[in-house]
């Protein structure tokens, strides 16, 4: 066994040894150890360095409130900075490394910061580093940044995976100490669905460290029996290694389950951690209390530890933090440490008790342990990186005593863990009798029990827990709990508040951030008296422990300085999460390719077979172009596709357009109110292009809508706005115009839709469509829409609409035939050289035709800006009509859509170039617009584009400057009509 391991006792598995290393040194611990307890058992005192002064630090607590003992755990992609040794379950092969030191923990170069500490006081950096100005960024700040932080993030992507889950219950309980267990028993027996969350890997809380008797049985036995009973209840779920971290609205709680942090590597298929969102009707917070220290000179020397932590290490982990200990306490609870140390074979050098007198029992204990009781306070601890050597105490009356010791246990009393109770910004209330903040106004549905509520005796914890569990179950609609409240003694606490002792050297309040009592005094002197100012100015409580051991001490010191009293001084706002939570866990499954889901058009796998290149459009993967062997770049492929369409026939999957069935007797009237143009007059079997505005008069979306029956319109939206338009239309239907009898159904996925375009479109369709269907210009004119029969018996919807400007149709078949449609289009068009084309060619052809799309429908353009003002009906009300007429929206100098083409035909255009009057020098006054969309036009054999330009429509033919400093380009372009190709539109009608 290791040097500081006691001979017997504890909850460790002595038969199961585990090897681990700290800073490369190999050591052995036992199953059931934490890294901290194993280090203590191995006699390690120095485990870390503080943030600012790089002072040597040891283990201070035994829980998640640890400020000092932070390590880097594991290595490579699994390197985990700032991990509290006190919460790491030991596993075989564990590697831990100290952090924030160089070159080594013992010899840390930046400990020279301590020499400058008279200058490096709170807020010193606000007062300096200002001169000369340029040195701040080139010298001072880089220097500060190099010193920043503690541990290092991993070097590569986290190889483990995370997940999230939902749980629902009547009662969620935080903590499985005496109050949490009785709450669970009471609620479970009443029939409630219960979730019991315990941060530790065993149930019992402080009972594992402090023992005691419950119902006449040793506490551990009672815990085992309670656990067995709870595990027998089907609707009670016990979640160990799970911390309740947050309290959100509507009874939603977050909890972090460390599923596989206690093993070296998670088993395959299992997550490292799981974030739970627990939906509970009631919550019982039995999160216990945190012991607080008293600040004194040298209180950060390795070997100074909270008294309760000493007991945890001795009683639970069979590890002796000190062989000769001084206890410094201001309350009876601290005295339990004496028992623990003596029973484990350690010595007590002295007890320094801040109170003027102690009980007879304690005096007897001093006799038995042969140590002195010193009434007063510790004024200095000497030692250093190697740990405590001597302790000096000032006694009441003025004498000074010095004792040799290798450890100090300190207890300044207990603070209820009020964090969870305050996350709805309820302020904790000060209770004078226990000199502590207790929960104030609670979040709805929450009950607090036990020491979290300021009830520190074991008997009271059991009673409050049982009552809270019963109450919570009853509130959730369940009957009374069966059984009696377990009984235990109500031991005295007898605390005399003491926050700090004056001494010669630094007395630390916030260990990790190196905030001392004198820093608090400085803050007060400079006017940072509000606790929030204190926190922000000194960084008190802002370290990774969130001030769990320091906040109350700090504000008590402030209260003393201002003379305002602690209640009036108040606390800072507590903020979730209760313990720092891995960002990976909060992200869960949603990372890498799983960040967002993927939508695939029905022809996707066919397109993949064709070797298509895909582009992300929202969640969709769309075929961008279909490269052919020997093509040197995308431009060559896209140009080929465009030419093939314009000279023959091609097709493109346009299923990503939003598609909405608008049905019902008032469907036409409904569409009249959402579109600027009229649809009620559209004949059955006809399609019409429509524009929707927002109520503020700006264009929202566009698309083609067809009337397939008297009471049935088929509406299409842009790909980008599909979901939003559906939401908007439902708002119109349900809220604005509920009197209209209209029904809306999303049918985007139902229909696989293809655009077939080019002069040979009809030839292709004649192959595909049943000969009984009349596809002639008369039988199926431009903007006609109807159902047709395909060869082979499938019915399809056919729309004679054109985005490309060619003779074109769009054809829709039910989604499951989308794959077959793509394949059959290839067969039907083979003789005509059919060419599948992607979104790039689609975009090229729309620019050639001057159609507006996403870059022009940018949320700030009006129908008039887009050249579509004439579509705005004057005969009806529609969404956006009134606001569209505002003066600035109809001003003559608005930027409107124009065509642009380079004066030098060989020049490439780029979107985002700004447009200035010819020869004007660039300035805000000369900036008249910008290029919105560009393409290489295979038909014009040059680059062309669209732009939004002030008074653009009046300026066709004007030469202006395209100014693109980002890409170091300036060149001349001509403003022109936005329709570059077939402006008469003969091709699409022919």
């Amino acid at each position: 066994m290791s040097s500081h391991r006691t001979a017997s006792g504890g909850l460790i598995d002595r038969g199961h040894s585990l090897r681990f290393s700290f800073d490369g040194e190999s050591m052995t611990g036992q199953a059931g150890d934490t890294l901290a307890s194993a280090l203590i058992a191995n006699g390690v005192k120095l485990v870390g360095r503080s943030f600012k002064y790089h002072r040597p630090r040891g283990i201070f607590t035994a829980g998640s409130e640890e400020p000092n003992a932070l390590v880097e755990l594991r290595s490579g992609g699994r390197r985990e900075p700032n991990t509290r040794a006190t919460t790491i379950e030991l596993f075989d092969g564990l590697e831990a490394t100290s952090q924030n030191r160089w070159p080594s923990l013992k010899h840390d170069f930046l400990s020279i910061n301590q020499l400058a500490s008279p200058i490096f006081v709170a807020g010193f950096y606000y007062k300096t580093f200002m001169w000369p100005a340029k040195l701040w960024e080139s010298f001072y700040e880089p220097m500060i940044r190099r010193a920043a932080g503690l541990g290092r993030a991993a070097e590569t992507a986290d190889p483990d995976h995370y997940e999230k889950a939902w749980a629902h219950c009547d009662v969620v309980i935080a903590g499985s100490g005496p109050a949490g267990l009785t709450a669970a028993l009471a609620a479970g027996r009443a029939g409630a669905r219960v979730i019991l969350c315990e941060e530790d890997f065993v149930l019992g809380g402080r009972l594992n460290a402090d023992g005691g008797e419950i119902d006449g049985k040793p506490a551990r036995e009672w815990v085992a029996a309670a656990e067995a009973e709870l595990r027998g209840m089907p609707d009670v779920r016990i979640m160990t290694r799970t911390t309740l971290t947050g309290v959100f609205d509507g009874g939603v709680y977050s909890a972090l389950e460390r599923v596989n942090d206690h093993v070296a590597v998670p088993p395959e298929h299992q997550p490292r951690q799981r974030l739970w969102r627990i939906v509970a009707k009631r919550a019982v917070v039995a999160a216990g209390a945190l012991e607080r220290p008293i600040a004194f000179s040298g209180n950060d020397t390795p070997g100074v530890m909270l008294a309760s932590a000493v007991r945890t290490y001795v009683n639970r982990f069979a590890a002796l933090p000190a062989k000769r200990l001084v206890l410094f306490t201001n309350n009876d609870d601290g005295w339990k440490t004496v028992d623990a140390v003596l029973s484990a074979g350690g010595q007590v050098a002295a007890v320094v008790d801040a109170r003027p007198a102690v009980s007879d029992a304690h005096r007897a204990l001093a006799g038995k342990g042969q140590f002195a009781i010193l009434h007063g306070g510790i004024v200095d601890v000497s030692g250093g990186a190697g740990g405590v050597r001597r302790v000096k105490a000032a006694l009441t009356g003025g004498a000074v005593a010095e004792v040799e010791a290798d450890g100090v246990a300190v207890s300044g009393g207990w603070n209820p863990a009020v964090g969870l109770t305050s996350y709805h910004r309820g302020r904790p209330a000060w209770r004078e009798d226990i000199a502590a903040f207790v929960p104030g106004a609670l979040p709805p549905g929450m009950i607090v029990a036990g020491s979290a509520n300021g009830a520190f005796s074991l008997g009271a914890c059991l009673r409050e827990g049982f009552a809270a569990g019963s109450q919570a179950a009853a509130d959730a609609g369940h009957g009374a709990a069966a059984g009696n409240v377990p009984a235990a003694a109500d031991e005295p606490y007898s605390l005399a508040p003491m926050w700090h002792v004056k001494g010669k050297h630094k007395a630390f309040v916030d260990f990790q951030n190196d905030v001392t009592v004198s820093d608090v005094a400085l803050a007060q002197r400079e006017g940072f008296e509000s606790v929030e100012h204190l926190k922000r100015y000194t960084t008190l409580g802002m370290a990774t422990d969130q001030g769990k051991t320091s906040n109350v001490v700090g504000l008590a010191v402030m209260a003393e300085l201002t003379g305002k009293g602690i209640a009036e001084t108040g606390t800072t706002i507590y903020r979730p999460p209760y313990v720092p939570t891995a960002i990976g866990a909060l992200a869960g499954h949603h990372r890498d390719e799983n960040f967002h889901s993927v939508r695939l058009p029905h022809s996707h796998h066919w397109a993949e077979e064709q070797g298509a290149v895909f582009v992300d459009t929202g969640l969709w993967k769309r075929a961008q172009w279909y490269p052919k062997k020997g093509e040197k770049d995308w431009l060559e492929s896209v140009t080929r596709e465009v030419k093939a369409v314009r000279s023959g026939v091609g097709f493109c999957d346009v299923s990503t357009l939003g598609k909405i069935d608008v049905r019902g007797p008032d469907a036409g009237a409904f569409l009249d109110r959402v579109y600027i143009n009229t649809f009620s007059t559209l004949g059955v079997g006809k399609a019409r292009y429509g524009i929707m505005l927002r109520e503020d008069g700006i264009v929202y979306d566009d698309g083609t809508t067809s009337r397939l029956a008297e009471d049935h319109y088929f509406l299409t939206t842009t790909t980008a706005k599909a979901g939003l338009v559906m939401q908007h239309l439902e708002f119109c239907r349900q809220v604005l115009f509920p009197e209209l009898d209209v029904q809306l159904a999303t049918v985007t996925d139902q229909w696989a839709q293809f655009s077939i375009a080019g002069p040979k479109t009809r030839d292709l369709l004649r192959e595909l469509v049943d000969p009984s269907e009349d596809l002639s210009n008369e039988g199926f004119p431009f903007m006609a829409a109807r159902e047709v029969l395909l060869r082979g018996g499938l019915k399809a919807r056919l729309f004679r609409i054109s985005f490309s400007g060619e003779m074109a149709f769009e054809i829709s078949v039910p989604g499951r035939y989308g794959d077959a449609m793509a394949r059959n289009l290839m067969i039907a068009g083979k003789a005509f050289g059919v060419t599948p084309y992607g979104t790039e060619a689609l975009g090229v052809m729309r620019i050639e035709k001057g159609h507006v799309a996403g870059p022009e429908l940018n949320g700030t353009t009006t129908a008039g800006d887009l050249g579509l003002g004439k579509m705005m009906s004057t005969k009806k009300d529609y969404i956006g009509r009134a606001m569209a007429g505002r003066e600035a929206l109809v001003a003559p100098d608005r930027q409107v859509v124009v065509g642009v083409k380079p004066v030098d035909k060989g020049r490439r255009l780029r979107s985002g170039a700004h447009l200035l009057p010819k020869d004007a020098s660039p300035s805000p006054q000369t900036d008249q617009g910008y290029v919105t969309s560009v393409c290489y036009s295979p038909m014009l054999e040059q680059w062309i584009g669209l732009g939004l330009v002030a008074r653009g429509r009046e300026r066709h033919g004007e030469i202006v400057t395209a100014y693109d400093p980002l890409r170091s380009e300036t060149y001349e372009v001509e403003l022109c009509d936005n329709v570059f190709y077939d402006p008469e539109g003969g091709r699409q009608r022919g």
């Binding site: 509507g250 939603v252 503020d696 939401q727 239907r733 349900q734 809220v735 115009f737 509920p738 009134a882």
Partner: protein, 91 residues
């Protein structure tokens, strides 16, 4: 946050989309710019109870009118929009 959809029961707020204050009522078409300006732009923005539109787009696609306290986030009531479902509504 959980929203008690009158049709689906309590659901996670991720299923809902927020629109905003339900107090402004869309003016009749001929009401003119000033009335629409008020409707589109001006808000009471109260700290306290506010009626507001939520859309259960991740569920039953109903628009809901909720009364919620903007300080505590507590929902006091959630009811269906007048035209949710197929109810007949008189103008």
């Amino acid at each position: 946050m959980r929203i008690n959809c009158p049709f689906c029961g309590p659901r996670e707020n991720g299923e809902f989309t927020y629109l905003g204050d339900a107090k402004p009522v869309r003016p009749e078409g001929g009401a003119g710019e000033e009335a629409f300006y008020d409707y589109v732009y001006l808000r009471d923005n109260v700290a306290g109870e506010m009626s507001e539109w939520w859309y259960h787009g991740g569920g039953c696609r109903s628009w809901l009118k909720a009364v919620r306290n903007t300080v505590t986030h507590e929902f006091l009531s959630v009811e269906a929009a007048p035209g949710a479902g197929g109810k007949a509504v008189q103008k």
